[in-house]
């Protein structure tokens, strides 16, 4: 939160839409910047009259879509080639579990892509895995656009209606997303055996 306020938000205030575009683009391409919380803050600034809400939403949506698509294509074209040069990743790519994960994504592409848009690390991971698994581009882009619209509407609405309480909203989102992320990891690890059996059928 402090990192967001001290290092990112001043740039958004200084360079406005161009900073928002660059930061959101980088967040969806490769850098794990908290773009959702940044959007809450920017929408709060829009509610105070500093930004135009429509321009803000259009900027963020375009940046997200370009970043996600570029990330997908880079992973699809060079992902396996680059990762297979590192022994650790080569092992993971050849493992049975990774094949099962790929199969699972292929079966549940929609929910996987849409839900992953709401958390920055899962967004980056989902783009890369979808690209490397060569998920159909038409499928990827359709769900990616739906997910981006849902994600942007959610965070923008929160920021717009909570206005100057955006720091408290971001604290709440930050705390809860950590708990949510840990619960998912715990759930998957507790039921890993069952999941793999079901997927290998």
């Amino acid at each position: 939160m402090d990192f967001l306020v001290q290092a990112i938000i001043p740039y958004v205030l200084l360079y406005k839409y161009s900073a928002l575009f660059v930061i959101t683009f980088l967040a969806s391409l490769i850098v794990p910047i908290p773009a959702g919380t940044l959007l809450v803050a920017s929408s709060a600034f829009a509610s105070q009259g500093y930004f135009n809400m429509t321009t803000l939403i259009i900027t963020v949506i375009i940046a997200n879509i370009i970043g996600d698509n570029l990330s997908y294509w880079l992973a699809r074209l060079y992902g396996r080639v680059i990762l297979s040069k590192v022994a650790f990743f080569r092992k993971i790519l050849a493992s049975k579990n990774f094949i099962l994960v790929e199969r699972s994504i292929d079966r549940h592409t929609g929910p996987f892509i849409i839900i992953s848009r709401f958390e920055v690390i899962s967004n980056l991971t989902a783009n890369i895995i979808c690209g490397m698994s060569k998920v159909s581009y038409k499928k990827f882009v359709t769900y990616e656009i739906i997910g981006t619209f849902a994600n942007v509407s959610f965070y923008a609405t929160l920021g717009y209606f909570f206005g100057d309480s955006w720091q408290a909203v971001n604290k709440l989102i930050g705390d809860f997303s950590i708990i949510f992320f840990l619960l998912i990891i715990l759930g998957v690890s507790l039921f890993w055996k069952k999941i793999t059996v079901r997927l290998s059928r």
Binding site: V5, Q48, F162, D175
Partner: protein, 129 residues
Amino acid sequence: MSMRKISFKSKNIKIIVLILLCFASFVVFVSTFNQLYREGDLKVDYDFKTKQKHFPRTIDIKTVSAWMTFDYINVIFKIDPNYLKETLSINDPRYPNIRIGHYVKRNQLNEATFFSGLEQAISNYNNNK
């Protein structure tokens, strides 16, 4: 038979653990929300009964911080762009597109004194409108 019983039990324990953790996180979320709401840190500026919103919003003078820019301050407090420049004798050519904290550091000013002067200037402007 006993093995089946054990696996059944461990599966149940896993589910119970997950449900308890979900419940605990929900309780934490609600209590944090309530706490923030009670302390006034979290408020919606929208009346759902009358369906009226009070936009554009203005923020409290006390929340003026080092990460804000003069441009942002001018917009949210509806201040004439030249007012702060003249009142606070700001000579930086990048004004108003400069972070307040950066300006204070660059000109080796006392942060507390500068901020109290800034807050005073904002309230004077609003009172004289």
